[in-house]
């Protein structure tokens, strides 16, 4: 199956689940970001080009789901997708520590970047409150979900390649 088609389907599925399921499993107001997880997985599997494009499309859809200004998540996710994609060549398929670490760092970075953009747009929130209430818990929640979902997502998104344990993907 065409990779772009599979990626598009994965993003659409993530958006649907973001609307239907993510709000129901929110913990203390922290909603997991399933679109972000797909974007980072795509970036780690396919590299910076696919990561940035998936990030832009996924971010734009995520923006359209929300109630605030449209555009910031498209910007943040395409940057995150690009940067995460840069380590694609050094990825091990079955290793869990690197992707999970990348999800945590990228998640925290994305939330901080989004907060900065909102501040620039005069829609910002007090930084420390946002860090404690939204950014850190969000990054941790996404990381926990990544531990569960990353193996499944890699199998769905990379059907074309049989991966042996700890062999380089690239």
């Amino acid at each position: 199956m065409n990779r772009a088609f599979v990626t598009g389907l994965a993003l659409l599925a993530a958006v649907v689940l973001q609307v239907a399921i993510a709000p129901q499993i929110a913990v203390f107001g922290v909603v997991p970001n399933l679109v972000f997880l797909v974007v980072v997985t795509m970036a780690l599997l396919e590299g910076p080009v696919a990561g940035s494009v998936a990030g832009f499309v996924g971010g734009l859809l995520f923006d359209l789901l929300g109630a605030s200004v449209v555009g910031p998540y498209a910007l943040v996710f395409c940057l995150v997708g690009y940067l995460a994609g840069l380590i694609h060549a050094n990825m091990f398929a079955e290793g869990w520590l690197l992707p999970v670490s990348v999800v945590f760092i990228a998640g925290l970075g994305a939330e901080v970047a989004y907060g900065v953009i909102m501040a620039v747009l005069d829609l910002g929130l007090p930084f420390w409150s946002a860090l404690v209430r939204i950014m850190l818990p969000g990054a941790v929640y996404n990381t926990v979900l990544a531990v569960l979902l990353y193996p499944i997502m890699t199998r769905v998104l990379r059907q074309d390649r049989t991966v042996k344990s700890f062999r380089r993907l690239a």
Binding site: A20, P23, Q24, F56, A74, C78
Partner: protein, 287 residues
């Protein structure tokens, strides 16, 4: 041991593509600000809302048993004696009891809503909450009423305890409501006792703060805040919340006032959408 190195050799990434996407994002953000509510991006958001509504409703419906089960477990934990007493009942009776209990609670909530709406003299329509925030940064809900039911953009949304929020996006069958606890929300209010005017804002924590109230009209804990009607976004006289804490440092121009809503906004399940003023209030507004 081989060190992990980031591969940044030429060809792994396309900086030009990244720059193009970044520029496109900035253009989109600018267009969002420049266009009106009928612009293409606002239209796209309405389309996404319309398409997403059935999925949001399905998700809410699917997780209802889970929420009911959680409630059942917590109820059992509260009263062990009660739990032992009903233990002998068969499964069918228990299931029926749970269903009836849920219907009764819903009935009570709706009665409260109707009573409140009658007392406030607004023309309203009841709506069920079918969608919750998809993002940690915002506080909004989706309700299952739209333009087909008379809901308009900017309509105020209330519950038995007072103001809930305002419609910011509306489709034929659903509407997105920004809650008053959202950090981007601002409601012009008046302190009921001192008549001091101010603006109630939301926050990251979901708490409310009262800004810009004059120092000679500082409220005290327990004072009720109601909408002032200024700006026309909300009708006058709707309860927004009550003051929980006041500090008025001499150096500050305005006192720091914290408030809380009387509505359990995060757990709200039914609301009333104001679709117009009652006939006598309409006459008053026209004067």
């Amino acid at each position: 041991m081989k060190r992990l190195e980031i591969d940044t050799s030429p060809g792994t990434g396309r900086p030009l593509l990244l720059v193009a996407l970044v520029v496109a994002s900035l253009v989109i953000t600018t267009v969002w600000y420049r266009e009106g509510s009928n612009g293409p991006l606002h239209g796209a958001r309405r389309v996404v809302l319309a398409i997403g509504t059935p999925f949001a409703a399905a998700g809410s419906w699917l997780t209802t048993p889970l929420r009911a089960a959680t409630g059942l477990v917590s109820d059992s934990a509260v009263s062990r004696k009660e739990y032992l007493a009903i233990k002998k009942q068969n499964d069918q009776l228990k299931a029926r009891l749970a269903t009836l209990e849920e219907a009764k609670l819903e009935n009570e909530r709706i009665r409260e809503l109707v009573k409140f709406a009658d007392a406030q003299d607004y023309k309203t329509i009841g709506a069920r909450v079918i969608g919750r925030p998809t993002d940690s940064w915002e506080r909004s809900i989706v309700v299952g009423r739209g333009t087909n039911d008379g809901v308009k953009l900017g309509a105020a949304v209330i519950a038995a305890g007072g103001l809930v929020g305002q419609v910011i996006e509306v489709t034929a069958t659903s509407a997105k409501v920004r809650l008053i606890t959202d950090a981007g929300s601002g409601v012009a209010v008046i302190v009921q006792r001192t008549r001091g005017e101010g603006v109630v804002r939301g926050s990251v924590e979901g708490k409310l703060t009262l800004d810009f109230v004059a120092k000679d009209k500082v409220p005290v804990k327990g004072d009720v805040l109601v909408t002032s009607g200024m700006g026309g976004a909300y009708p006058k006289g709707v309860v927004v919340g009550e003051v929980t804490d006041v500090t008025a440092p001499q150096a500050d121009l305005f006192p720091k006032v914290s408030a809380t809503s009387r509505v359990a906004i995060d757990r709200i399940e039914e609301v009333l959408v104001l679709i117009g003023l009652a006939p006598d209030e309409q006459a008053g507004a026209a004067e």
